[in-house]
Symmetry: C2
Subunit: 145 residues, 2 copies
């Protein structure tokens, strides 16, 4: 928790009960979630909680690299906690299709191939997004047996 609090401070964001609750949610769940899902859960314990607040905070945390944002099914956006040592170091994420767990994938899948791609296409690569879907250990077992 402390490292995320630190990241909020570095981003000039105040430490509020709502932000702490959102962080706690993601640390505890370890899964990706929509602002609405987070809101439905935290609303109970926090008493008053506005949905726009959750949207705002999750987007801000995404800007700071605390949360990854992925396009999920049915045109909605999901956020997951990024646990990488240094979120600034480029990496990708894989999400379990069974339990929605998020895991970091060290290194870059495109980097080593970028020269080839540029040679073949004549394009100069300026960026990329990679979304990996998979099944985690637990869900493989659940699936298979």
């Amino acid at each position: 928790m402390q490292r995320y609090i630190r990241m909020l401070r570095e981003g000039k964001l105040k430490i509020t009960p709502r932000r702490e609750a959102i962080l706690a949610y993601f640390i505890k769940e370890g899964k990706y979630a929509t602002p609405e899902q987070v809101w439905k859960k935290l609303r109970i314990s926090l008493g008053r909680l506005g949905l726009p607040t959750v949207y705002r905070n999750m987007e801000e945390m995404h800007q700071l690299g605390i949360l990854v944002k992925v396009e999920g099914v049915e045109n909605r956006f999901y956020y997951g906690l990024c646990r990488a040592e240094d979120p600034q170091v480029h990496h990708h994420h894989i999400i379990c299709q069974g339990c929605h767990k998020v895991r970091e994938v060290e290194g870059c899948l495109v980097g080593s191939l970028s020269k080839q791609i540029e040679a073949k296409t004549g394009f100069k690569l300026t960026g990329h997004t990679v979304h990996l879907q998979g099944l985690c250990q637990s869900c493989i077992i659940a699936d298979g047996g």
Copy 2:
């Protein structure tokens, strides 16, 4: 054009003036576009044209592999014509950030690394999406000089 008409037939979709116009638009432009952009352009020549029709047709063409669908800026969806010989053969696309031109990138960027990723993460890969952004030859020149 004929190969896309064939793909529509194989998908049990009728060949209508609207569908032909949408295909012609993408063949001519070679860029990705939102349903609204296509609609604004074709509305003029087609006289009457409903925006839902464009949305419907572009999504159907996406389902048939005729159009690729990418998440663009400001949470909107863009579609681009897939010119790959066989769209069923897995490949990726790179989009020019300057002119929005779409180009196929043969081969798969994840395939060769999937074993490593699975070993490292313990996940079993089930799918992935890769979006490449770049600058095409013309736009590099325009950009640099």
